[in-house]
Homo-oligomer: 206 residues x 2
């Protein structure tokens, strides 16, 4: 009995559910329903029930879902019931903001170290971090067992840096550079490019 393969698109919605539920926790909500959650997220209640049911029976007929219980379950499923150490490569304007971003820690992630290859920057402080030489990435990553890297390097060097961190055992890359990178299928790559979102919207605008 092969464990049923959960579709990627379902996995992609779970963090959205978790985020909405954590806001409900902050608001001291104890119970919610697929209907309410769906209304908040613009997703049908049927889809939410179907997605969740892939992982277990978390609700009660007639009542709904216990918010903190569902939060706990989703954190387990997404493996964010622990904190993942990450490193950041590239400390330009964007990298600086990523390093300072306060939103990682409460949600399961922590920036451990930041790197740059510019000799002018190496050794300087960025927030609480001392910028390390990017040429040390290989050794450091392997030694500290880091699995997640965020890239905020110039477009032209993104692939090169990606190749190097992958060689050092990294299996997840969050790429802020405006380019696609190629990686073996065992390595997960996600992208953040605000312009892609903007252009998607202007398509519909005059």
């Amino acid at each position: 009995m092969a464990p049923v393969k959960i579709p990627d698109i379902v996995v992609g919605r779970l963090p959205l559910y978790l985020r909405a539920l954590e806001i409900m926790v902050d608001d001291n909500r104890e119970i919610t329903s697929s209907q309410e959650l769906g209304d908040r997220l613009g997703i049908s209640s049927a889809q939410i029930r179907k997605d969740l049911s892939q992982f277990g029976e978390f609700g009660k007929q007639g009542t709904g879902y216990n918010v903190s219980f569902l939060v706990k379950k989703l954190k387990e499923i997404l493996h964010v019931n622990k904190t993942w150490p990450m490193v950041l490569v590239g400390v330009g304007d964007l990298g600086r903001a990523v390093a300072d971003y306060g939103g990682f820690t409460p949600r399961g992630f922590k920036v451990e170290t930041v790197y740059d290859s510019d000799p002018q920057k190496i050794g300087k402080q960025v927030g609480t971090f001392t910028i390390r030489d990017a040429s040390r990435l290989g050794d450091d990553l392997a030694k500290n067992g880091i699995k997640i890297v965020m890239l905020a390097v110039p477009t032209a060097s993104a692939q090169d840096v990606a190749d190097r961190v992958i060689k050092a055992g990294v299996t997840a890359i969050l790429c802020y550079s405006s380019t696609s990178i190629s990686a073996p299928s065992k390595v997960h790559v996600e992208y953040i490019d605000p312009v892609l979102h903007l252009q998607r919207m202007t398509y519909y605008m005059r």
Copy 2:
């Protein structure tokens, strides 16, 4: 004859094609094929041909696509053959980086003004911008005909600010706050939340 409705999912891929093609322009590539483009993006060549053919016949059998011609066409389709003025609301660490980000201008967007509601910040400089009082948003947006707003405000005030800018005629919101906002269907909302991407990846990791 109703103009055929292009699926949202197709529209969402066009900016990706445009981005890859612009990199090819920089590399002085004159011609490409759906095969090559697909390889770079991890998308099947059939899908690329099908997507593009929704908008016209841009290629030549046996040859492929002229890169700069296709760039020109995609810019027209996405309405980024002009520059869209935008404003940014919220100048914390994240907002500061968004304001300084150099990637908007070459790709069809420009930050015109930045706003915050913190009296401590109003009047201060951020890069080349003087922070304006967020209470002026309503008047300013309407007067300058701004249609696009980027939100980098605290989660708790995102909905409130969104409501106000929508009232002032804004039809596109790029939301960096970690929450979903509700808006009339004529208003386009896109989200950027790095943690959602990270959690999507850790699902697959031990």
